[in-house]
């Protein structure tokens, strides 16, 4: 793919051909990195350095509509009507001017322009897709050589383009997939962790690299990496994991060990909701257990506060010896805390008409999550635990 892109860009700059291409790949598969790499290579090629290569880089996240994008293009191209840093004129004028400027040149006397549109799918959502239409239009007609490269993570990007835009697009797509297997994954792991040759402290670098080699052959480390690999092939998650592990390295603990990696993996894959449940008070845990029972009995139908309170009362009267029977407003306050933490979500927005207690809600936790979290909960009274595990045959 690298060669393909390089070839494409070379043709634009050297031969003056206009082109357009889309680079498609899931998040973190290195689209921007690929593009930057290719551009670096391009600049180093001697032929290109003689031509001036202008490069407006438009990250899609920042250009929320076509007007902003157009301003940014004019600013980056430093066209004549930019006075100081301000760009004025209405949208139509700007567009016309830009097109004029690009149209005046022809193959021999103007410099090729490379437009890079990051997060291409966001540009597609602009009104009428005017910018895309115009850019592709210019790239098809024989005026200033222009190449438009879009980067996106959506596979169905072509369906989102309007018909007239799609017809002007050259349908050249470059796909980037993370298609390496586990062995290559381990090699990447080693390469990421090794220190480069220019590291100032040579002996430490040597020791570190030896340690990394050791680690990559260790069985537990391979298990950890295997786990992550099965979960996602994304290199960014590998980075996160390594970051966690490397942050345990201090002056006293200079080399990475297998235990560090295991600890990092454990931290990386903790269920964050379980963490939140860990910090709730006993009353709130009882409410969550009541909601879980209601979900089981009524097969996931939404409930309201009154029902949960009823369940709680039943539990208190029959089984509890360690829980004091709290007043209803206190239980209401605990329930509202759960709402604030977004563990429980109302089905519709609360209106002034309906009373708060009768608003229908649903629980955003799974029952297996709740049971796991209860195991880890410190100082849980045993009757609460037993209530959670019991099935309701006495309803």
């Amino acid at each position: 793919q690298h060669r393909h892109l390089l070839e494409l860009l070379k043709r634009t700059t050297v031969h003056g051909e206009s082109n357009s291409a889309l680079i498609i790949g899931p998040r973190g598969s290195g689209k921007t990195a690929l593009l930057n790499h290719v551009l670096k290579d391009l600049r180093e090629m001697k032929q290109v350095r003689e031509n001036l290569l202008e490069k407006p880089f438009l990250p899609g996240l920042l250009q929320t509509n076509d007007k902003v994008a157009l301003k940014e293009i004019t600013r980056q191209l430093q066209l004549e009507n930019v006075v100081g840093d301000k760009v004025f004129g209405s949208f139509a004028e700007n567009l016309a001017f830009l097109l004029e400027a690009l149209r005046k040149g022809d193959r021999s006397s103007s410099c090729p322009i490379l437009f890079v549109l990051d997060e291409f799918d966001l540009f597609v959502h602009h009104k009428n897709q005017t910018l895309l239409y115009n850019l592709f239009d210019i790239s098809q007609s024989a005026q200033t050589p222009v190449t438009v490269i879009g980067l996106t993570c959506r596979q169905d990007i072509l369906e989102l383009l309007e018909k007239r835009v799609k017809s002007r697009f050259s349908h050249r797509q470059i796909y980037l997939m993370n298609s390496f297997d586990f062995k290559q994954y381990i090699k990447i792991f080693k390469k990421q962790l090794s220190l480069p040759a220019e590291f100032p402290d040579e002996s430490f670098a040597q020791k570190w690299n030896n340690n990394v080699q050791h680690l990559s052959e260790d069985k537990t480390v391979q298990d950890v990496l295997q786990n992550l690999f099965h979960h996602t092939k994304d290199l960014r998650s590998l980075h996160l994991l390594l970051m966690l592990a490397v942050s345990a390295v201090t002056v006293h603990h200079p080399l990475l060990t297998a235990a560090d990696l295991q600890e990092a993996s454990r931290q990386h894959s903790t269920d964050s909701k379980a963490n939140i449940v860990h910090g709730l008070s006993v009353l709130e845990i009882c409410l969550i257990i009541a909601m879980k029972h209601l979900n089981e009995v009524y097969d996931g139908e939404p409930f309201n506060f009154q029902m949960v309170y009823n369940e709680f009362q039943k539990f208190i009267q029959r089984k509890a010896h360690s829980m004091y029977n709290f007043e209803k407003p206190v239980v209401m306050k605990a329930f509202e805390h759960l709402l604030q933490l977004e563990l429980v979500k109302p089905l519709e927005r609360p209106s002034a008409r309906a009373q708060r207690e009768y608003l229908l809600m649903k629980l955003l936790l799974d029952s297996s999550q709740i049971m796991d979290a209860l195991q880890l909960y410190p100082n849980c009274p045993t009757d609460v635990k037993q209530w959670a595990a019991s099935s309701l045959s006495w309803l």
């Binding site: 902003v68 910090g279 009353l283 933490l341």
Partner: protein
């Protein structure tokens, strides 16, 4: 023995930091190792989540100010639109870099302008080479703003090509933040809640100087024993501790018991704490009212709270109207005949009723009823004859204005207005006395 060590920062600063943030050493050391040295690039975005008052904002602020790292601190609830947020960040950047309090007004509408102005602002002398930290508190509000704000902040390091790290603090887990098409994943960190030992340690730290630390620690023990099951929020517990301490010390002040007489102190304070749970904890009365109550001797009378029912005075017929409305809302129509007529027939339980017995009306909420039914029930519960005068009808409307009844449906319905009763059983019981 200092447990926070880092070669880049002076040891004296680290010691001071450690004394300011008890029970949070491991989180701070993780953050320090992430930050690295001043000029090193750190991870582009960090997401910190944890319970209410688990110290996220406090630890972050203390860490950044003690180590004097350049930072911008913004609360997303205060600056709730994107424009306000971006302008505030730029204004704080100005004061950060120039060191003075002078700030010139900044105009920044979109993220595009923000990135441009940000690059200009960071180019000043003091910030050269150091990592700039942008801390966004209550980051869950970012989801409500425009859709591109959150992904843009997560990638700010890449978009501006400068040494900046964005830190997001929130109570809500990251899974609920993630936009639909994915984004740059931040480094997630969890601030675990304080255990009961930690809470004890932190609360005992601010004891008033007149009494010994042990005495205060025993008091905190008692307080936690009553409130821990309900609430683990550090701020609330601190509030309660401060309010009730005077009452706890009363026996000692009066000379009835000395500091070690735990049983007497416990007997004195226990009903007081139970009362506190119903009132101050629920914020039904303010803390100044509570203190005044303590001063007046505190006879065990009814505390008038914000939602206290006993002081709502309703005229005679209004009370009956309200009770009738409650009955109409919560009893199904079938049972009216049985309850309210002098000669009632038997009601045969059909299959239909058996199936639906389980979901009692009390659980599902009030049902709407037409006006005629209300009047019919009213006539049957009031002893003497009631004439349908305009007085009665106007009382119904005033109940609606008080929001004790609510009107269901449009104003111009042909069958007559329908109402719903919006008060609870306790209220009705209190009225009926």
């Amino acid at each position: 023995m200092p447990s926070l060590e880092h070669p880049a920062y002076p040891a004296a600063d680290l010691l001071r930091l450690e004394s300011l943030v008890p029970c949070r050493e491991s989180q701070v050391s993780m953050l320090l190792s992430l930050f690295g040295e001043r000029q090193q690039f750190s991870f582009p975005s960090i997401f910190i989540y944890g319970h209410t008052s688990s110290g996220k904002t406090y630890v972050m602020k203390t860490l950044l100010t003690t180590l004097q790292l350049p930072h911008v601190f913004v609360n997303c609830v205060e600056y709730f639109t994107s424009r306000l947020l971006l302008e505030e960040i730029l204004i704080q950047l100005q004061s950060c870099s120039s060191g003075t309090e002078q700030t010139s007004p900044v105009h920044c509408d979109t993220l595009n302008d923000f990135v441009r102005l940000f690059k200009q602002a960071v180019a000043s002398q003091e910030l050269e080479g150091q990592t700039l930290y942008i801390v966004l508190d209550r980051a869950e509000q970012l989801r409500e703003m425009e859709a591109n704000i959150l992904p843009a902040f997560l990638r700010l390091q890449e978009l501006t090509d400068r040494n900046v790290t964005v830190i997001l603090l929130s109570e809500i887990v990251w899974e609920l933040f993630r936009p639909n098409i994915g984004c740059f994943e931040p480094f997630t960190m969890y601030f675990p809640d304080y255990s009961i030992g930690h809470l004890q340690k932190i609360l005992s730290q601010n004891h008033p100087p007149e009494y010994s630390a042990d005495f205060y620690a025993a008091y905190i023990n008692i307080l936690l024993g009553v409130f821990y099951m309900v609430c683990r929020d550090l701020k609330e517990l601190r509030h309660l501790a401060a309010l009730n301490f005077a009452k706890y010390c009363e026996p000692v002040v009066r000379g009835e018991a000395n500091e070690r007489d735990t049983r007497k102190l416990w007997k004195n304070i226990e009903p007081h704490l139970k009362k506190a749970m119903q009132t101050v904890y629920l914020r039904e009365i303010s803390s100044s009212q509570w203190e005044r109550l303590q001063h007046d001797g505190g006879e065990p009378g009814q505390l008038k709270g914000l939602s206290a029912h006993t002081h709502v005075e309703l005229p005679y017929y209004s009370k009956f109207l309200l009770i009738a409305a409650y009955l109409a809302s919560y009893n199904p129509v079938r049972t009216d005949k049985r309850f309210f007529l002098k000669h009632h027939g038997k009601i045969r339980k059909t299959n239909f009723m058996k199936k639906h017995e389980k979901t009692s009306n009390h659980l599902l909420g009030p049902k709407p009823f037409p006006l005629d039914r209300l009047l019919a029930i009213l006539y049957s519960i009031v002893d003497n004859r009631v004439a349908p005068t305009a007085n009665i009808f106007s009382q119904i409307t005033s109940l609606v204005t008080l929001q004790l009844l609510s009107m269901v449906g449009q104003n111009d319905q042909l069958d007559g207005p329908r109402y719903k009763c919006t008060v609870s059983l306790d209220f009705i019981r209190a009225i009926a006395r």
